[in-house]
């Protein structure tokens, strides 16, 4: 492997890692702040991708179209969806065991899959990307790189920075961190914890939907797409340390590197390398790379 190829592979790894972070960020937020195991996270990702596909014609008809308008409408809808789901289902789960949370969120996966089948059918669909992002840039003489992938990376970096600032530098972030450590104490200090959780959950759903909508033009939309990202998301969250946004960021980049170079050098074992790494890290640090924070 020469230097150019190596550098392109590094770019591939970082780019994949950032995408993983974007998908996993909502999961680690919900997991960390609310201590809820949300298996339906992948479904929210799928909902996002299908929104990018289904909303585009409507937005074109009533709001003049545009990729970012669609994105905005999708995000507003997803916040409403998150708010509603927290009120209807998740608010009942805080005091329950993890097993019951797993059962209910698994049920939600089935419901979302069936709804998807009824509303959008079982076909594969493509999603248009905006023209000004559709170009490619040459990487030496080797190959070209789609601009849209770099755009995804930029969005991921922005989201990471935004989450870091909100959680560590604002009052809201402080309340979220306090609530995750001790729910009752935070409440007795005058924070409306029910409302806070509802907001955090809605934000988590919105992040997953954002990931789905942004990824849709490259990944296309198809049945079962949510379940594919779910497992790797959990790997990222567990390696990073449950609830740690910083940890999830580092872990996502690690997974991206191991996966990319694993596929190149150890093709036969590519499927298990990431999980081997997870096992090794958990043996070394049972709580993940970073403790909460």
């Amino acid at each position: 492997m020469n230097a150019t190829t190596f550098l392109v592979q590094c770019l591939n790894a970082v780019q994949y890692g950032l995408l993983l972070f974007l998908v996993a960020s909502g999961l680690t937020l919900i997991f960390g702040a609310m201590n809820i195991i949300n298996l339906a996270h992948g479904s929210f990702y799928m909902v996002g991708a299908y929104m990018a596909y289904a909303l585009a014609p409507w937005v074109g008809l009533y709001l003049g179209g545009g990729f970012f308008t669609t994105l905005l409408v999708g995000l507003l809808l997803s916040i409403a969806l998150g708010y509603l789901l927290e009120w209807a289902f998740f608010s009942l789960l805080y005091e329950r065991e993890h097993l019951q949370q797993v059962l209910m969120t698994y049920g939600l996966i089935l419901i979302f899959e069936e709804l998807r089948s009824i509303l959008a059918g079982d076909d594969v669909h493509g999603v248009q990307m905006p023209d000004w992002l559709a170009g490619t840039i040459p990487l030496g003489s080797l190959m070209t790189y789609p601009v849209y992938r770099l755009f995804i990376s930029a969005v991921c970096l922005l989201v990471a920075l935004g989450m870091y600032l909100v959680l560590s530098r604002t009052r809201l972030g402080m309340a979220v961190r306090a609530g995750s450590v001790n729910r009752e104490m935070t409440q007795s200090l005058g924070v409306n914890i029910d409302l806070l959780y509802r907001v955090v959950f809605a934000a988590g759903v919105a992040l997953a939907v954002l990931a789905g909508m942004i990824a849709a033009p490259v990944s296309s939309v198809y049945p079962g797409m949510g379940n594919q990202v779910l497992i790797i998301c959990f790997v990222v969250v567990v390696i990073g340390g449950i609830g740690s946004v910083r940890g999830a960021f580092v872990a996502a980049l690690l997974v991206g590197l191991v996966d990319t170079f694993g596929k190149v050098f150890f093709q036969e074992a590519a499927g298990v390398l990431v999980y081997l790494m997870m096992a090794a890290i958990l043996l070394w640090k049972p709580e993940g790379l970073f403790r909460q924070g």
């Binding site: 089948s117 076909d123 669909h125 594919q228």
Partner: protein, 386 residues
Amino acid sequence: MQRPSLTIALGAALLVAAFGAQAQNKLKVGFMLPYTGTYAALGTAIENGFRLHVQELGGKLGGREIEYFKVDDESDPSKATDYVNRLIKRDQVDVIVGTVHSGVAMAMAKAVRESGTLLIVPNAGAGAVTGAMCAPNIFRTSFSNWQPGFAMGKVAAERKYKTAVTITWKYAAGDEMVEGFKEAFEKDGGKVLKDLTVPFPTVEWQALLTEIAATKPDIVYSFFAGGGAVKFVKDYAAAGLAKTIPLMGPGFLTDGTLDAQGDSAQGMFTTLHYADSLNTARDNAFRLNYAKTFKLQPDVYAVQGYDAAQLLAAGLAAVKGDVSKRNDLVAAMEKTRIDSPRGPFTLSKAHNPVQDFYLRKVEGKENKVVGVAVKGLADPARGCRM
């Protein structure tokens, strides 16, 4: 008052008796197909195709009316044995038609090898079904994974390409298609430089596209299906590879996915035993009839279901619907020449179609035929002792 009611009662009793006798006389056909999940559309197309031919024959096969039994196999190999046994033991069907997923089809083949039930596979391409697992009571009306791969390998070598890289999901169907391609391509002087794989069903292959760019082969042969096929073809074009290194594959790479693939699939070559515009009298008649009956456009899966009914009809006609004459039934099915919408085909000794494979080119939203890649291609049926 007494007399009329007695007559009615008697009449009713007679009617029930007649009905019961007739029900016993019906041929029991069991569909074990995916009706939910990713392959739901394929299962429906196969059943529609089968029913269409039965309808053309006046609703009877071998002079017998038909009673259908249905099981949704969910494309889940772990449930397959349970489900197929429902048809075999509970419903005691005469013949099973199924299925799409190769893993499920393998479990079904295993079950009918024990029970002796007649099985017609209308899609799943697993080589072993008409290879190591072959049996007198197991038939296939679709293809073996090896076939489309071999046809494309031959075309690639004929076009004087010297080197190739293959890329597919790491599972049976992908491996078997790549094997077929390699066999034909290397026999005629080509060389496969690298076999790349990603775990099923992941769709992250940017690293491997970089490998392809660095290896610089003459062509790339790949198999993916559904969402994976759409994403791969788009990623391949976006990486700038489509312009310099032609991408080829089995028809599944571009069948039913052209809408989603858009411009990135234009000009691609694939091989399959069917195409959108064969424009033969036989195919046109089939397509018109299908579209009229189901208000849907038929696809390759509908053709395979249709031919499953043709194959069964040919066998049953020879024994006048008497399935107990099993040897005569099987012999008639083996000998028949199916007048399929894809073009006529016969069966190999291992009961897999010996058929023409078309070379198709993507033009607009269609897979247009540009020629026949291989005429009368037969699967080698390795491991079959029949």
